[in-house]
Amino acid sequence: MNVPRPAFDPAVLPAGGAAADDSHQHVRFGDGLALECGAVLDELVVAYRTYGRLDADRANAILVCHALTGDQYVAEPHPLTGKPGWWSNLVGPGLPIDTDRFFVICANVLGGCMGSTGPRSTRPDGTIWGTDFPPVTIRDMVDAQARLIDHLGIDRLFAVIGGSMGGMQVLQWAARYPERVFAALPIATAAQHSAQNIAFNEVSRQAIAADPDFHAGHYRDRGTIPARGLGVARMMAHITYLSEEALTRKFGRRLQSAPASPAAGGGAGLFGEMFEVESYLRHQGSSFVRRFDANSYLTVTRAMDYFDLARDHDGDLASAFAGTFTRFCVVSFSSDWLFPTAQSRAIARALNRAAANVSFVEIDTDKGHDAFLLDEPDMHRTVAGFLDGAAIHAGLRPAPPGVAAPGPRGKAP
């Protein structure tokens, strides 16, 4: 690798945000990246954020992998929306992923739109990749992250953690770099994207492609963005993240007055009213298009669809983990119908077949797939306890005093 190692002190994020890719803290690898599809990226940029301090022996690093529409701003306000980091209830000082104890790294995925190389990046000829960006896979994303981990001078990650597509990356890390992953925490995920999930993604992609502002992916050249299509894609996908119970609990059949302008899309209801759930989804759609790029959405959903870890190991998921020494904790949610518990159980059983050390918990909740992002006390206890147990086995220094570590045995949780 021809990249100098030591320079990883935070290149501080300039205020003002995301117009240019360079505005995010990043590292540039001039030797590029060979992709699974056979294409080679001449140059690789990985945008990332870190929290906490790396120990002298570089043993306390945790890599957090983000989901489809996530980004590297895991535990700090988002530079575009100003909203709290997407896992700020889980990652931070004294929290289950304790930044007083661990050095937490989160990188924007390859193909993303928050500074890492993706469809918004510039090609060597100076033009923007757009839809010509080569197809990437979860494995490519993990390879890009591995370059970052090399750059940070870390041989072995104490833990790799992620939910949904982030969980796919966790599994891929454990399968591809087993000696570099001490503990793996795949949450609300699957070892292969199901036909149903591919189908949902395809509807999202078709919504984007059908937007006249999409211009076959060259919308930036035309000075437009396919906001309507991307918004609909997000609305549809968001339904799959929730559960019927959660929707009923949050919105029921309640009505509210419809916006005066029909620009919000779709005519008003019977008496100038609309259902609260409609309003909520429209808001989800419209706020999403301000921070996400349509071509990235296409690229990253494709990467999820291609993911099939067993296929890469002669159809046997257990052989993906053969001989592993990684400690696993597989977590699912009872009301998650997008990545149902059965898929997590399949992962756990494959790990059993590989004689791996595996914990497997299904968290009882009505919040659906989204639960992995929410304040779920059982999940937080599980993450904290698993990391604490793994830290003992890894010989890490104990949690600093005063920090909410799991209590002694027998105490009520």
Binding site: A355, N357, S359, D364, D378, R381, T382, P413
Partner: protein
């Protein structure tokens, strides 16, 4: 930790790989890791207990004896433990076979249906017996496959398992003194604890 768990722990060599089926709150695997440096893992059917165990840093997975043992490779463990659960599984014989496939040894405890109080109650009242050990009425008990100590010896003989050690245990989980005679143990032992090995 219950007294009978202490007896179980005493049967396990330090540094072993152990699978505890029905690990409950994880007390046994916690003890085996902390005091015997075992690689001890659990399977538990009650999700609240699983979450509690994992939240204490213990490697426990949600599952049950009937459906999850088949997914482990041969000889993955030195000991496979089944505490007070054999009488409640769907297919006890198959569970024992799986235990001795994935483990070199099996440690099994179960409540003894041959205890004199049960015999006497059934004889004198003609109703299904109820004792402290067998505390639930017939229509709601999870204990669908009760057996006696002699039944268990017979099954081990039939299946070709070597009984390396056995003892009767009282309700509190302490060791009962009926070791010399299977008949006495079967009459006075409230529970039984067996250490099984494979033949050859």
């Amino acid at each position: 930790m219950r007294l009978d768990q202490k007896l179980i722990a005493d049967m396990i060599a330090p540094g072993s790989r152990v699978l505890d089926i029905g690990s409950g709150d994880g007390a046994l695997i916690d003890h085996l890791f902390r005091t015997r440096q075992c690689d001890a893992r659990g399977i538990e059917i009650d999700m609240a207990a699983v979450t509690q165990s994992v939240a204490h840093g213990l490697p426990v997975m949600h599952g049950d004896a009937d459906s999850d043992l088949a997914h482990y490779p041969d000889a993955a463990f030195d000991y496979v433990v089944l505490q007070r659960t054999l009488q409640a599984v769907e297919r006890p014989r198959e569970v024992l076979r799986q235990m001795l496939r994935i483990g070199r040894r099996a440690i099994v405890s179960f409540p003894n249906f041959g205890h004199w109080q049960l015999r006497l109650q059934l004889l004198t009242t003609g109703r299904m017996p109820m004792t402290t050990t067998w505390g639930r009425p017939w229509y709601e008990t999870p204990n669908i496959h009760p057996c006696t100590i002699r039944d268990f010896f017979a099954l081990c003989a039939e299946e070709g398992y070597v009984v390396e050690d056995w003892m009767a245990v009282d309700e509190a989980g302490d060791r009962a003194p009926w070791r010399r005679s299977v008949r006495f143990a079967n009459l006075f032992g409230e529970q039984a604890l067996f250490l099984l090995g494979r033949r050859g």
